[in-house]
């Protein structure tokens, strides 16, 4: 292979990294470089520095160290049997690229992953070296997200956590069967074992911080994972229950869903359809319901149809409300916060505004209109001082009333 320059390598290794959905750069400890040494800062809310036409934000330099891999996971463009062009960055190249992008305010930090070369430990060492060099040689205070390799030595994973803001391990597929079929070299138990180790290390650190202020930091932005949607036979119910169990057991900050998109040089085991983007979107909505709206896993699973799939034409919260109509209408002026959160079309912020406002006045319909985004969507489900939806929630054709009328145009309709 002829030698590639940095830009050629970047094209290959960024292309290889784009199937990872995570781009978050938020939720870490606050740092800045006002002491005049080093470079960079992090401040709670992440910043999306650009958006690509796929609607995904670009906040981090997301690349692989190398796209060569000894594994043969069917869904992965970098698998051993794929014919993609291979490239490899040295740790120093990644460090320089990160710094030169960071200085120009293109990015907030780096998200580094890698194909597995030689051995898990060797690969992990290379990844850790990039983070170490950024932190120690260049006093870099921006965001670092490292993907850890499931079978790497625990000491290397610990070092990754010391330098990184976030570490992640992908569970890849929601079912063990799917993993066996599509990623034969990966092992669900080992992946979860590694997640457990990271969780324990994070807990330890938090414990230590209570006693010693100087306790070394460990992945202050926690850990996350990713599941591929639409590559195996798992339905939405399987995926939602899996996500909820991951949140519960490993204290994950985020579970990312990635609609499986056709990759160049795909394996024949995989569906060659357009990625199920709407399905991915509905799963994220269900995830939000669990994390911010007080829905239990059972609630969101109940919003799914008999075939275990969430409806694609309406959001899961509306689906739940249409299915459990006896909970409605809700009196905006009296209902507790958790009940208000169940009203379709009402977000967390709107609910907060309603709760503070109603201390001062009995809310009327036009008050609710000012406090929310779309009154039309909410109206059938609420009671206000001047409004009561007569019989609307008992109508058989209620779905028609509240379902969004416009449909996004299919750009590439089959």
């Amino acid at each position: 292979m002829s030698r590639l320059d940095t830009r050629e390598k970047l094209a290959i290794l960024a292309d290889a990294a784009k199937y990872d959905a995570s781009c978050a750069s938020s939720g870490t400890s606050k740092r800045d470089s006002r002491d005049g040494k080093g470079i960079g800062s992090t401040e709670g809310m992440g910043i999306c520095h650009a958006y690509a036409p796929d609607g995904r934000c670009i906040s981090l330099l997301k690349i692989l160290l190398t796209n060569s891999c000894i594994f043969d996971c069917h869904y992965c463009i970098n698998r051993k049997s794929s014919n993609v062009r291979r490239a490899r960055f040295t740790a120093e190249e990644v460090v320089q690229l990160t710094l030169s992008f960071y200085r120009r305010n293109y990015i907030e930090g780096v998200f580094l992953s890698s194909g597995i070369i030689r051995s898990s430990n060797y690969t992990m060492e290379q990844i850790v070296e990039v983070a170490r060099s950024l932190r120690e040689d260049h006093d870099f205070r921006g965001y670092i997200h490292l993907k850890t390799i499931p079978d790497a030595d625990p000491e290397l994973v610990r070092l990754a956590g010391v330098h990184a803001d976030r570490v992640s391990i992908n569970v890849e597929l929601p079912t063990e069967r799917g993993l066996q079929r599509l990623a034969p070299e990966k092992d669900g138990t080992r992946i979860e074992g590694a997640m457990k180790d990271v969780k324990l290390a994070i807990d330890d650190r938090q414990d230590a911080k209570k006693r010693y202020k100087s306790a070394p930091s460990f992945a202050p932005a926690g850990q996350s994972t990713q599941m591929i949607v639409g590559a195996d036979s798992a339905n939405d119910r399987d995926i939602m229950l899996k996500a909820s169990s991951l949140y519960d057991r490993f204290g994950l900050r985020r579970v990312y869903y990635s609609a499986f998109s056709p990759i160049p040089d795909a394996s024949a085991v995989l569906p060659l359809n357009r990625p199920p983007l709407m399905r991915e979107h509905r799963l994220y909505q269900s995830d939000w319901l669990m994390r911010f709206y007080g829905f239990t896993p059972v609630d969101v699973v109940n919003a799914a149809g008999d075939d275990g799939m969430l409806p694609l034409d309406i959001d899961p919260k509306l689906a739940w409300a249409l299915k459990y109509r006896d909970n409605f209408p809700v009196d905006i002026n009296r209902a507790p916060r958790e009940t208000l959160l169940r009203i379709p079309g009402l977000g967390v912020k709107a609910v907060n505004r309603i709760v503070t406002s109603r201390r001062w006045r009995r809310l009327r319909l036009d008050d609710v209109a000012r406090l929310s985004v779309s009154l039309a969507k909410i109206r059938p489900f609420i009671v206000t001082e001047d409004w009561r939806p007569t019989l609307l929630t008992d109508r058989a054709d209620l779905t028609k009333w509240v379902k969004p009328q416009t449909q996004q145009l299919e750009l590439f309709g089959a």
Partner: protein, 474 residues
């Protein structure tokens, strides 16, 4: 309030975002109980306006000196006002003053988010915060050399008057660099220790390029996934008004234009490549299907009955579901209906061993009557749940012709309920685009009482027609 023949009060503020000036003036106006509609606010150079003296910047405490009692405002109001001051709406000063008077009488009014004035100001504050956030995100520095070495310079055009409010972020992040952000209204500079200001600048004052930008554009183009085009989502978060000062946005047009072609190429190429490992893939899919729990039917059935036949078969038959014997043997179409099917195929001159035979639903659904298991029709949910497997089989085989045997198979292939009589005898297009023919299920021929012979003959006739069509295609 009492007012007659009273001239308008004019307040002149030093800067667009002069919060201190506004606060001092507002405090003394409020002390004098001047109504909001009697105050005009402006920003500008000229002092010595006709009435400016009446309510110009006043030292703290002077309200008390005028005989009005001093009053304090909640912290939330100060934070809101500091933000709203940066908005580009010329009415902001007067709206804030109106709210100040309300706050004085009713300190908790800010909690009433449904109040129209509070809501309007909250929305303005949100616009300002968003603009500051977008400044932090979309400023693009270019490296330039000056007398003291390298300096990073950006040209940026914000929507509101936020440069001063947005600058400290860059001082925290890039403290060890020397940088300047130039905007039409105001420029800010950092020398490594202090923030300084200078008047507005023009685009020509900023460097017109940076060699790293090409590398950045390479990254932007490569990280984009053409299979997931979502232009609306991009524009919502990165409005076009910011594009002209971001180097990477020059690529957006060609990336979108190329996306469809790139995706089609990816799919095509991968379709062409299938074949080599189709056998492995089919084995993998089948193994996964054996443990399927996508619908409740797996609980009662003995096993998943997957399709069988050569993977390069040009002809695929899709039946309804396995029956009693198929359930026990684990193979499709071997019971009474299967035997009848074989006989009809023979008469029509079609070799079953050259066709792939499968079912729309892959578990046996039945009701128990005494010792017998009686076939029960699968419902829509079960058909939909199982369609995933059929789709997998179809994408692996890509048969030239698919034959739907009966209504269940047709529902699965077309994605809707169809009547067999209306579709029979001519080529149809399935949901996934493949050529599909519809006929009855062989078990119908076992069940039917009247015209048994005729129905059977018609079934064979359908198969003959399909056989001819297949010959024509190959």
């Amino acid at each position: 309030m009492f007012r007659t023949g009273y001239a308008m009060r004019l307040v002149t503020l030093a800067e667009e975002d002069d919060f201190d000036g506004w606060r001092d003036a507002a405090r003394s106006l409020a002390g004098a109980r001047v109504a909001p509609q009697d105050v005009a606010w402006r920003v500008g150079e000229s002092a010595g306006d006709l009435f400016a003296a009446a309510a110009g910047p006043v030292a703290p405490g002077s309200a008390a000196a005028q005989g009005a009692p001093a009053f304090s405002v909640p912290r939330g109001f100060v934070a809101l006002a500091e933000t709203v001051i940066c908005h580009s709406d010329p009415e902001r000063f007067s709206l804030l003053y109106a709210l100040l008077l309300r706050v004085r009488d009713q300190p908790r009014v800010l909690d009433d988010a449904a109040d129209p004035l509070v809501r309007r100001l909250e929305i303005m504050a949100k616009g300002v915060r968003r603009d500051i956030h977008k400044m932090h995100a979309f400023v693009r520095f270019r490296e330039a050399e000056d007398a003291d070495g390298s300096r990073f310079v950006a040209w940026f055009e914000p929507e509101h008057h936020i440069v001063r409010a947005g600058a400290p972020f860059f001082a925290r992040r890039f403290a060890s660099m020397r940088w300047s952000i130039l905007t039409p209204e105001l420029s800010v500079h950092w020398d490594g220790a202090r923030l300084t200001e200078s008047p507005g600048a023009s685009r020509a004052d900023a460097p017109n390029g940076d060699p790293i930008e090409e590398t950045w554009k390479t990254y932007y183009a490569s990280i984009f996934n053409p299979a997931r085009l979502k232009i609306g989502a991009m524009v919502k978060e990165m409005p076009r008004k910011y594009w002209k000062n971001m180097p990477e946005t020059a690529l957006v047009g060609e990336l979108i234009a190329g996306a469809q072609a790139r995706e089609a190429r990816m799919v095509d190429r991968s379709r062409d490549d299938i074949g080599g490992n189709a056998g492995v893939a089919w084995e993998g899919v089948r193994a996964e299907a054996m443990a399927c729990t996508r619908c409740p039917l797996y609980r009662d059935g003995t096993q998943t009955v997957f399709g069988e036949g050569p993977l390069d078969a040009p002809l695929m038959f899709v039946g309804e579901q396995p029956g009693d014997q198929e359930d026990l043997a684990g193979r499709p179409f071997i019971g009474p209906a299967g035997q009848l099917f074989d006989r009809a195929l023979g008469e029509a001159g079609i070799d079953r061993s050259a066709a792939y035979v499968t079912n729309a639903v892959k578990h046996f659904k039945f009701e128990r009557r005494g010792k017998r298991r009686i076939h029960a029709k699968p419902d829509g949910g079960e058909i939909d749940a199982c369609r995933w497997w059929l789709d997998q089989e179809r994408s692996l085989l890509r048969p030239q012709i698919t034959v739907a045997l009966g209504a269940t198979a047709a529902r699965s292939l077309f994605g809707r309920v169809v009547t067999i009589s209306s579709m029979r005898g001519q080529a149809q297009q399935a949901r996934d685009g493949g050529e599909t023919w519809v006929t009855v299920h062989p078990s119908f021929l076992l069940r039917v009482r009247d015209n048994k012979e005729e129905e059977y003959a018609r079934f064979v006739e359908d198969l003959v027609q399909i056989g001819k069509r297949l010959e024509a295609l190959s």
